[in-house]
Amino acid sequence: MIDLVEQLVHGLTLGSLYAMVATGLALMFGVVRLINFAHGEFYMLGGYAFWYAYAELGLPYPVAGLAAVAAMGLFGLAYERAVIRTILPRTWHVQLIATLATSITLTNLAILVFGTQPKEVPTRLSAAILDVGGIRLAWQRVVVLVAAVAIFAGLEWFVGHTKLGKAMRAMSQNREACAVVGVDVQHVALATFGLSAALAAAAAALVSPLFNIFPDVGALLTLKAFAAVIVGGFGFVKGAIAAAFLIGLAESLAAGYVSYAYKDAIAFVVMVAVLLVRPQGLFGRRIGI
């Protein structure tokens, strides 16, 4: 029983990470109908920003985390202005190549700037152990789970109760109609990219004390987040969050009870099985925040 609970806790931690990254990806697709293949690199850059603020500048953990979130929020805005706005009217082929090229560029720039040695940012919470009836876990994992819930609740409130959030929701349903009724669609798209990049940075600041930061860290993460977005119903944020936790749990249980080497394969088989039964994703909706 303890064994099963431990695996479920691992799955929830991984699911939180995937969910925070997938949320940004789903938001971007929902609002501007674009798949950002550089989204994993937002997480990677967020990790390096957090490392710099925490380990190099010596800022306290919460301040360093918020600094990374703010820095990546600005980066997201700049990315939208420099890359996305230019390629948005183009075909999906151009969008795919441009975001992939950005991903490769950012990874190689990270190698040049930060080097290949992985960065580690252990905190007091990542070394402090919580022992509940023989289940041992770092306090940082508790922080990840609690913060993830808070972030998703905050996002839900934002989308449902703020003008900008409502505009994002409206754009996810009909961009043209929004433009007709006077919604500043470019402004909403800009804010969406800022928010998505900030979410990726929040994920990085939360889990970096547990895992390494290295130039390639975003590659596999993009794939997992992408899978969550597909299973959740393309562009449906709540669906992506639920699917991300499903993938995290499937991975953890597969690794714990079947095979660690094939855990990713098993998680993706689960994804394919879900899509065979529900081609529109778990929640049967096409698009909509």
Binding site: P118, S252, G256
Partner: protein
């Protein structure tokens, strides 16, 4: 495509070229006698890029060292680099690029076993000598020298040689073991070699788990290890993964005796865990290089690169200094030239007895037999427990 779109792709290509395919400009320093073109192939990008960066730095150090003395037999050394990304497919491209584009005379590499296995048929086809510095897959020896590929040579011992010795040491400490290994040719080759070696000495192998490099969370598999409850765990992994692994190992409260193959017992690893240097105390690594073998090299490295010396770069330097450089010198002395065939022939004949890693002389399977080391992490420091000569 827009200007910005083209720009982004342009930058990506430029950065890719700069990082993966970078090389000193051809002809640099060529005065009179033509330079000798030496290619280094390793993982310059991807999850294993840390190894390639070390190889690149070491290559620059040894080239500067020789060129400052006027080169080898008056011939300057020119460096070229290929990016194998640690994979067999990319290794083929890296070798072809080094041979067809850079026109190298000899290759040192490929660092990663899978890349080595991928490169072997191509070096044979293109007839370029390749000196392997760190690939320990047992199948390599079955293919080189008299076994078919006369263009490849290996300086480092393989995992069968290491496992047979290491298992004798391990059986004095533990009777049951679980293996946790990288899911690639290196990890799978080593796991098979240790499985066989454990049977010979009477160690019971309880479980073997493989992981893909770049994984974030090892806790699910550590829970499996906890369930299996072995007396010891053999880790086949590199320092970059090892640091995260060790933190999660301690998080779960595991306290099995730890044995390792890869680069856990290195200053690279200790640098990664410098905030908690005792985290891997007691771990014993089977290896063939440690900084204590060459303190001058370690000091020079630290002064130049400002980070602790890296094992894979150091092994590439060993291959250059004690195999390739003597072979080039012998080739020029004997034939007056240092072309691929002359270097290959000379590699078969060199005998360099007193190197920091032992004697470098290739047998008819093109395998050298340098010493094996058992290195322990003790009080956050590396301690050489034993130096074990490996017999042909």
């Amino acid at each position: 495509m827009t200007r910005i779109g083209r720009g982004v792709i342009g930058i990506a290509v430029a950065v890719g070229l700069a990082v993966g395919l970078g090389a000193e400009p051809p002809g640099a320093g060529a005065q009179g006698a033509p330079p000798i073109r030496v290619g280094f192939s390793s993982a310059m990008t991807g999850p294993s890029a840390i190894t390639g960066e070390g190889v690149k730095w070491a290559a620059q150090m040894v080239a500067d060292e020789y060129n400052a003395k006027g080169g080898i037999a008056g011939r300057r050394i020119e460096l070229y680099f290929g990016d194998n990304a640690g994979t067999p497919g990319e290794a083929v491209s890296a070798v072809r690029k080094l041979v067809d584009v850079d026109k190298v005379d000899v290759i040192i590499g490929q660092t990663h076993s899978g890349a080595c296995l991928g490169a072997l048929p191509v070096v044979k086809e293109l007839q370029v000598p390749m000196v392997i510095e760190a690939c320990s897959h047992p199948k390599i020896r079955e293919q080189i020298g008299k076994n078919g590929n006369e263009w490849a040579f290996r300086v480092n011992p393989d995992d069968v040689m290491l496992a047979n010795q290491f298992a004798k040491y391990m059986v004095q400490q533990v009777k049951t073991v679980s293996i946790f290994a990288q899911n690639d040719d290196f990890g799978r080759g080593a796991a098979a070699a240790y499985d066989a070696a454990f049977k010979k000495v009477g160690i019971k192998l309880l479980s073997t788990e493989f992981f893909d490099r770049g994984q974030a969370d090892y806790r699910p598999v550590l829970t499996r290890v906890k369930r299996a409850a072995p007396e010891g765990v053999l880790l086949v992994m590199l320092a970059s993964e090892g640091s995260v692994f060790m933190r999660q190992y301690r998080e779960l409260g595991l306290n099995q005796k730890l044995f390792a193959r890869g680069s856990m017992g290195t200053v690279e690893f200790l640098y990664q865990v410098r905030d908690s240097p005792n985290i891997a105390d007691g771990l014993v690594e089977a290896t063939y290089w440690t900084p204590a073998l060459d303190p001058a090299w370690e000091k020079q490295w630290m002064e130049r690169w400002k980070v602790p010396v890296r094992i894979h770069g150091s092994l590439a330097a060993i291959a250059f200094r004690y195999a390739v450089a003597p072979a080039i010198e012998a080739a020029i002395k004997k034939t007056g030239k240092a072309d691929r065939k002359a270097i290959r022939d000379a590699l078969e004949e060199i005998d360099v007895p007193n190197t920091p890693v032992g004697r470098v002389k290739f047998d008819d399977t093109h395998q050298a037999f340098i010493n094996m080391l058992l290195v322990q992490i003790d009080g956050g420091q590396l301690k050489v427990l034993e130096k074990i000569p490996i017999q042909p």
